[in-house]
């Protein structure tokens, strides 16, 4: 069976900007696939190519075995695209927008009517259906946009940053909705630069950075691969640096401790990378006691996707965001996204 989405050695440049250098990934039917990366990594460009809005410079892009370059109309039939910026016609009601959408996908009118009611109830939009979308809140706008993307029951639903700028409640509605969607067998491709979102939703993840895939796998695999659990140890609420250094030397001598970093932003607490084992915390506490050092707090956690990103790129996602924000040209990007 053909993968739901196949992207192979995709390349795209805009003038001197290499938006996508070499991106490959594959999505199996029924998965939620997360494309994670900072702003400007090439996520939106990849999605726009997948959804036939721009042409790739090189590479293979297929939806259910259909090339989006050679057979764009058939591919469009299989795809639902929910863009990052919600573009509604504020004069139309939600229902009228869906009716337009249904006609653009050539649903027969009887089926369309039924299906519209179905997606409206799916996203709890019934009471808003006959109100103009110009009066909708941000969360409602996103939901009607999702309803529109889903209307023709696409095999693959493509969502570009679906929860950016949403309030917590709307965000959870979207999350739940995506999980329900997966349960019904729809393949979902979602981009995000929220780590916890991808961690919570995605079956498979590809992390992309500056147009390249730098890591791919399940969230658990990725976290396991960089190895080690994270232990945060606070000697006191605010420890003097000498004491922190002493504890660092002490803990580094333990066989299962791989790395110790003093975090001066957190009152000289210690961040440890340890080989996964069950009694790490008690062993640490024990040696602290023997050396006569107090323990104010200690916690062990699995590595996060941010740690994965850090390990692969040498910078945190937050730093990458800040760096990217300075170098982007929003006007040029808007222009090239305008067909």
């Amino acid at each position: 069976m053909a993968p739901a989405v196949l992207v192979q050695n995709l390349q795209k440049r805009y003038g001197s900007v290499e938006a996508v250098k070499d991106v490959s990934f594959q999505i199996e039917p029924g998965e939620i696939f997360g494309l994670l990366g900072p702003n400007g990594a090439g996520k939106t460009t990849t999605l726009r190519i997948l959804c036939t809005l721009s042409a790739p410079d090189a590479g293979r892009v297929e939806v259910s075995g259909i090339s989006v370059v050679d057979n764009p109309r058939v591919a469009r039939q299989c795809l639902g695209y929910v863009a990052q910026e919600v573009a509604l016609d504020k004069i139309l009601t939600g229902r009228e927008l869906l009716q337009l959408q249904a006609a653009l996908y050539h649903l027969p009118s009887a089926a369309a009517k039924e299906r519209i009611n179905q997606v409206l109830s799916l996203l709890n939009l019934e009471e808003w259906a006959d109100i103009r979308t110009g009066n909708y809140s941000g969360g409602l706008r996103k939901r009607i946009d999702l309803a529109a993307g889903l209307l023709h029951a696409p095999d693959v639903l493509v969502l570009d940053e679906p929860t950016v700028g949403l309030d917590i409640e709307s965000r959870f509605i979207v999350w739940n909705f995506l999980r329900q969607l997966r349960a019904s067998g729809t393949t979902v491709l979602i981009t995000s630069h929220y780590l916890e979102e991808i961690d919570a939703l995605a079956d498979q993840v590809a992390i992309i950075d500056r147009g390249l895939v730098i890591a791919a796998g399940t969230p658990t695999q990725l976290k396991d691969k960089i190895g080690g659990d994270r232990v945060t140890l606070r000697i006191r609420e605010f420890s003097p640096i000498e004491e922190a250094n002493k504890a660092k030397d002490l803990l580094q001598s333990l066989p299962f401790v791989q790395e110790v970093i003093i975090n001066s932003d957190q009152g000289n607490s210690l961040n440890l990378v340890v080989a996964p084992q069950n009694d790490a915390l008690s062993a640490i506490q024990q040696s602290m006691n023997l050396a006569g050092l107090p323990t104010f707090g200690i916690a062990q956690s699995r590595p996060s996707l941010d740690d994965v990103y850090l390990a692969a790129t040498g910078r945190t996602l937050m730093d990458a965001e800040l760096a990217a924000a300075g170098t982007r040209d929003p006007k040029a990007e808007r222009k090239r996204n305008m067909k």
Binding site: A83, I91, L100, L104, A111, Q118, A153, G185, K339
Partner: protein, 299 residues
């Protein structure tokens, strides 16, 4: 019936039972059927917008009426016969106002499309499996042409009320045909610009520098005989004149026909039928010249 209760809601299927049929389609639906479906839906959107935001249309009706009343009054005391056969300047002006109004409306046809591009709504249409993306163009043209015909009808009625007389049925049909041809061609050009120019500011600028100069360089406000030679040449190259003169002629002559001479251009006489052919040619040129522009975005 709208009064019936909503059916009991079954547990919600995310994928409707009919989804496979939805996707595959029953026995490959016809290209034409799909084209009609999407074009009508896009046209319907424009008419819903018009119905809920009618100010443009209202202004588009008030403006020509003001032209008729105010501009007509400006030359009220001009000696009779100064403007050819017409009894008054108002009668002379009617044809110019009809054509200018249709022209102005069609020139603005590209603006909504430009805003759709800028707001990203066009992307919604472009990711859909449209039978042909020319349905976007077709819907705009249908909308603008119907709006122009409505405006023309009002102007004809008001002009009649002001004493310009009313052409016969065939004459009204001819006016409708001329308005249709002009609006279609200009709409096509405006849409071509809307897909080419970088943004609405540029489009408005182009509309601005096109609108009034084309009006003044036509026979809308004064007959050819008033103009210096060079302006006569310009005015007889201007497609607007080929729409204005036939309409003016049938306002002033009850016995008009396709072979009636409606305009004496510096290089020869233009007949009623000739003017129609030139408008038709203008349409063909307009529609063909925007093909490459549209293809760049829409193909």
């Amino acid at each position: 019936m709208s009064g019936t209760v909503t059916p009991p809601k079954p547990d919600i299927n995310l994928q409707p039972a009919a989804s496979t049929q939805l996707d595959v389609g029953e026995s490959t639906p016809s290209f034409l059927g799909e084209l009609v479906q999407e074009t009508l839906a896009l046209t319907r959107r424009l008419f819903i917008q018009l119905q809920r935001r009618p100010s443009t249309l209202i202004a588009g009706i008030i403006q020509p009426v003001m032209w008729l009343v105010l501009f007509g009054a400006l030359f009220q005391n001009a000696p009779q016969g100064l403007f050819g056969n017409s009894q008054s300047y108002g009668q002379f002006l009617g044809a110019g106002v009809i054509v200018f109004t249709a022209f102005g409306g069609a020139l603005n046809a590209g603006l909504p499309v430009m805003f759709d591009r800028e707001f990203g709504f066009l992307n919604r249409l472009l990711v859909a499996p449209l039978a042909s993306r020319y349905s976007i163009v077709l819907a705009s043209a249908l909308f603008i042409v119907s709006q122009s015909l409505l405006q023309a009808a009002v102007i004809v009625a008001v002009a009649a009320f002001l004493g310009a007389g009313l052409p016969d049925i065939a004459g009204i049909g001819a006016i409708a045909l001329i308005v249709f041809l002009l609006a279609l061609g200009v709409t096509a050009l405006s849409l071509g610009l809307a897909f080419t120019l970088p943004g609405h500011i540029e489009l408005i600028a182009v509309i601005f520098v096109t609108n009034l100069p084309l009006l003044f360089a036509s026979t809308a406000l004064a007959p050819l005989s008033f103009m210096p030679k060079w302006l006569q040449v310009v005015a007889t190259l201007n497609p607007l004149s080929y729409a204005i003169e036939p309409i003016r002629y049938l306002y002033l002559h009850s016995n008009w026909g396709l072979s009636s001479v409606v305009m004496q251009a510096p290089w020869g006489n233009v007949t009623f039928g000739g003017a129609l052919l030139i408008l038709l040619g203008f349409n063909l040129v307009a529609l063909l010249s925007i093909q490459p522009l549209l293809r760049r975005t829409l193909a």
